[in-house]
Amino acid sequence: MSIFIDNGTKLIVQGITGRDGSFHAKQMMEYGTQVVAGVTPGKGGQQFEGTVPIFDTVYDAVQATGANTSVIYVPPMFAADAMMEAAAAGVKLIVCITEGVPVLDMTRVYPYVKEHGARLIGPNCPGLITPGQSKVGIIPGRICTPGNVGVVSRSGTLTYEIVNQLTMAGIGQSSCVGIGGDPINGTNFIDCLAAFEADPHTKAVAMMGEIGGTDEQEAAAFVKQHMKKPVVGFIAGQTAPPGRRMGHAGAIISGSAGTAAEKIEAFEAAGMGVAKRPVDFVDLIRARLS
């Protein structure tokens, strides 16, 4: 069991002939993901790696293959169009890896995707993985192992760090979702927490937040009101200075809002476990599984 992706995921790779797209398409295929189509305008009719058909449009790819999921590796100025193209073609899960998408583009993309009944993950995210079944995005497959801990995070490499520590400690994962660090993204913590709560296989959730915004505080309120499963949280940027953007467009403390201290306080108020260091997840999660 899992959330969002599993054995039934049939994937389109938008930008499959690009540098990042081709590399990660191969990685996903090696992991066992059903990559059923690629899309690069002008290269329709060709094949990727001799096995995956390439189409000019997402519409053609969906019609021909019945794909239900798409992953996007196109340059930032084309990403908004790619997300909307996937939604218009009827793709129900759209994962945008691209970093650097202008936030004003997202103010158009978000309502468009929603009105088409699709779920968007990202942009500027590492994607997601259901260990042993399917990976969509760039999370390294070998650091994950099947199990019953759900992982949701705003970061990339920090997630790998923590997932790797869980795996090395013998704690497997049901699904790991990187929701991305941008101010406007398609899927937030609450969406993932609700999905993990509903997934019978998930027994506990590890959640990695960052400074900036109020998503973590709202997630904590959701945990308190709606979740029976235990959740352990971590906030990166406890020592970050206010007013400076820490790489992620969302990771900025503005005024008095979005500090690590207030987020950690919200976690504690919700009865969540709080990891002070990444390594603390191992003991906190283990205690909640037993």
Binding site: S155, G156, A236, A249
Partner: protein, 381 residues
């Protein structure tokens, strides 16, 4: 990217917003000449990327050209929040009957640009929001349709009972929205929006923050970047495609990924140390990036120890190892280095490092503790 007041005002003026005449001066003589030309009282305003310019003494009213010269002499070269003032805006002083606030910010919650308007302008809007939230109207705009006339009018009448003023204000809302969208802003504000004694509206101060992700497709905006107002190491890092923020500590951090970089800084603090910087070398594996990162970090005399924390996903750890070897051959290190790397091509990376006399570990906590220890020792020596 922050714009200076004079730059934001130029963009607002181009969109039609009524703004008092103003020009930039870099010397007291220029300030005097501009004031002379206007032939009226002027404001001399420090142009630095910092709030609280007025409180710091960087904004002065000047009755005469000689006065403008004197005030400009005092302001040019003054330091406001660690930033040296190199330019002043000399602008015609406005007569003020009342002050309002009008701003647009991209809001994470509604996922839209949201107007914030308040008749209580001129002061910190965050204070108004905290103490008297009912005095602010929040109005989200659907960018697919743009700001509609009735929406602008509603905000106009929220500010002014007088229909003539409300209409003028509505027009300014449209102009501000146009400037906000055309420049790719994440924030644009007019504060204060002033009613003059003759019942006209003018924008006395303007501020714009540009979404960095917009700069590639708006070269007219990216050309406005004023590198003289930024730390040289941060400019250097941006040119090398690194995300770097200078801090005050002595542990120089080189990390891949923003989240892990923040977590590494936190861990340095947790073990009693102080990070010298935030530095994200990003996802691509290019030894050149590592060379640049080391050059930037070692140029900070405060750094007593360098800490690498690399989790190889897309980043190949052997590329990072090669970068470390190349960089230290070019410029031998004067401070100790602690290397933690794990992930893609780890065995190869460890071999490269060992062959060149470096040691590395795969345990993040142990590496951070060691780096803090060495930095503390180095600082004491």
């Amino acid at each position: 990217m922050d714009l200076h007041e004079y730059q934001a005002k130029e963009l607002l003026r181009a969109a039609g917003v009524p703004i008092p005449p103003g020009e930039v001066a870099t010397t007291p003589e220029q300030a005097e000449a501009i004031a002379q030309r206007y032939g009226t009282a002027v404001m001399v305003k420090a142009q630095v990327h910092a709030g609280g310019r007025g409180k710091a003494g960087g904004v002065k009213f000047c009755k005469t050209p000689a006065d403008a010269r004197e005030k400009a002499t005092a302001i040019l070269g003054m330091t406001i929040k660690d930033l040296v003032v190199e330019k002043v805006l000399v602008t015609v002083a406005a007569d003020i009957a009342s002050e309002a606030y009008v701003g647009i910010i991209v809001d994470r919650a509604t996922k839209k640009p949201v107007f914030m308007v308040s008749a209580a302008g001129g002061i910190d809007i965050e204070e108004v929001a905290a103490s008297t939230p009912e005095k602010i109207l929040y109005y989200p705009v659907d960018t697919r349709y743009g700001l509609q006339a009735f929406e602008a009018m509603r905000m106009g009448f929220f500010l002014y009972k007088d229909a003539k003023l409300a209409r003028q204000a509505a027009k300014i809302m449209q102009q501000l929205y146009t400037a906000f969208m055309n420049a790719g802003c994440s924030l644009a504000e007019i504060n204060p929006l002033v009613v003059t004694p003759t019942n006209e509206l003018i924008a006395v101060d303007g501020k714009m923050v540009i979404d960095d992700n917009e700069l590639d497709r708006r070269t007219n905006i990216s050309d406005l970047r004023d590198t003289s107002s930024e730390a040289p190491s941060e400019v250097d890092a941006r040119n090398a495609n690194l995300t770097f923020i200078k801090l005050d500590g002595n542990v120089g951090c080189v990390v891949n990924g923003a989240g892990l970089a923040m977590a590494t800084m936190d861990l340095v603090k947790y073990y009693g140390g102080d990070p010298a910087n935030f530095l994200d070398i990003g996802g691509s594996s290019n030894p050149e990036k590592v060379v640049n990162a080391l050059r930037i970090i070692t140029s900070d005399p405060n750094v007593k120890c360098i800490l690498f924390n690399i989790f190889g996903g897309i980043t190949r750890t052997d590329d990072v190892a090669n970068g470390i070897v190349t960089a230290t051959k070019q410029n031998p290190l004067k401070v100790p280095i602690v290397i933690r790397l794990t992930g893609t091509n780890e065995e190869l990376a460890l071999k490269i490092l060992q062959d060149n006399g470096f040691s590395a570990s795969s345990d993040m906590d142990a590496a951070v503790q060691r780096a803090v220890e060495l930095a503390t020792k180095g600082a004491a020596a």
